[in-house]
């Protein structure tokens, strides 16, 4: 198989960033009470993750060339915050309908771990530019898959389930996520990508 295609499949199935690497959990659990919102959030995260990965890659090469790569965290965070801000302005101006449906979710993405995690992973795994772009968008899609699956189950459960009091709401979300993660282990080997670390 084409190595880029393989990386793409790995990034959302057997190396799913939410269910295998357990990243981006706070928004995943907080915004998964119904499928519609979950889908909107997933879409926004996919766009931001892909874009910031593509933007951060050349910036990191520049940092490397000047020997200041220890500052990468600070620089990545600023890129991410700026990208989210610009995206918000852009969508508000040109696609107001989409802006209204995103609402509060867009600014929240700044603190979603997966956006920063993808940028840190391409540093750790020394990806090329193409690999970074594919991995960025693939991870975003994987996260969207996870949040939509979780929201689907939670939406149904909220209507007809009799849970112990301590487990209602976010408690049961962990159990559902655990079962989903078990299912995703079943994808092991679907695409062979060796990740350092």
């Amino acid at each position: 198989m084409n190595p880029l295609l393989e990386l793409f499949i790995a990034s959302f199935l057997n190396h799913n960033i939410a269910l295998v690497y357990i990243l981006g959990m706070c928004p995943l659990i907080a915004i998964s009470t119904n499928v519609k919102n979950a889908f909107g959030m997933g879409l926004a995260v996919t766009i931001v993750t892909g874009l910031t990965a593509v933007i951060n890659w050349p910036i990191y090469q520049f940092l490397l060339s000047t020997g200041t790569e220890d500052l990468n965290l600070l620089v990545f965070m600023i890129t991410i915050a700026t990208t989210v801000q610009f995206l918000e302005l852009f969508i508000e101006k040109f696609i107001p309908k989409l802006y209204n449906s995103f609402g509060i979710y867009l600014p929240l993405i700044t603190v979603n771990c997966i956006v920063l995690a993808v940028s840190l992973f391409f540093v750790n795994r020394t990806y090329t530019f193409e690999e970074t772009a594919v991995y960025g968008f693939g991870s975003g899609i994987g996260w969207m898959l996870a949040i939509v699956l979780l929201a689907g189950v939670r939406e149904k459960m909220s209507k007809r389930s009799d849970l112990p009091k301590g487990l209602t709401g976010k408690g049961i979300a962990f159990v559902i996520l655990g079962i989903l993660a078990l299912a995703f282990i079943g994808f092991t080997g679907i695409a062979n990508v060796t990740f350092g670390n």
Binding site: L23, C26, D70, A117, P164, K165, F174
Partner: protein
Amino acid sequence: MKKFFIRLNYTKGFNVLKKGFWLENQVAIAVLGICSSLAITNKVENAIAMGLGVTFVVMASSALIALIRNFIPSQVRMVTYMVIISSFVIIVQMFLKAYFPSLANQLGAYVGLIITNCIVMGRAEAFAVKNPVKYALVDGFASGMGYMIVLLAASTIREVLAFGTFLNIPVMGEGWVPWTIMALAPGGFFVISLFVWFIRDRQQYVEGGN
């Protein structure tokens, strides 16, 4: 002695401590900072390093934000927090790399991800901007320790079951068959869900909505 405890109950510092540590335990009640508490709790040493790192960052950033809270314009406060938090995380990262290189290697990207740990940001926004430095410090300490306690407990269970070791020392004897699943993501989810259940049940805390 009894009088001392009764008086202690009414001081603000003690109440902040109790709230952060137990009543509003960041992991179990507020469900914040979950990524790292799930991802790195398969080894006790990772949990200790992560807990201490997060506690340091929460305390330092809360104190600094509380110190300059009157000078931060509210429109740019998020970016200000981000820059302050990132700087402290870089300190933690360089410290780990210099003194504990193997641990830094194991934790990998998760040290950098302390920046997006919701606890740090949440404490800054919910507490540090409204309170003086000394309470911000106490609150940061309590939240960090409340987080670390859950991490320690969860990682103890997971390491013993998954590898048969505690702090890399074998404890389960010869014939122990490791539960591989405990080292992987699902084990983390199940163990943390048990803690959430236990702590919420002890506190009679019931979440509204679904």
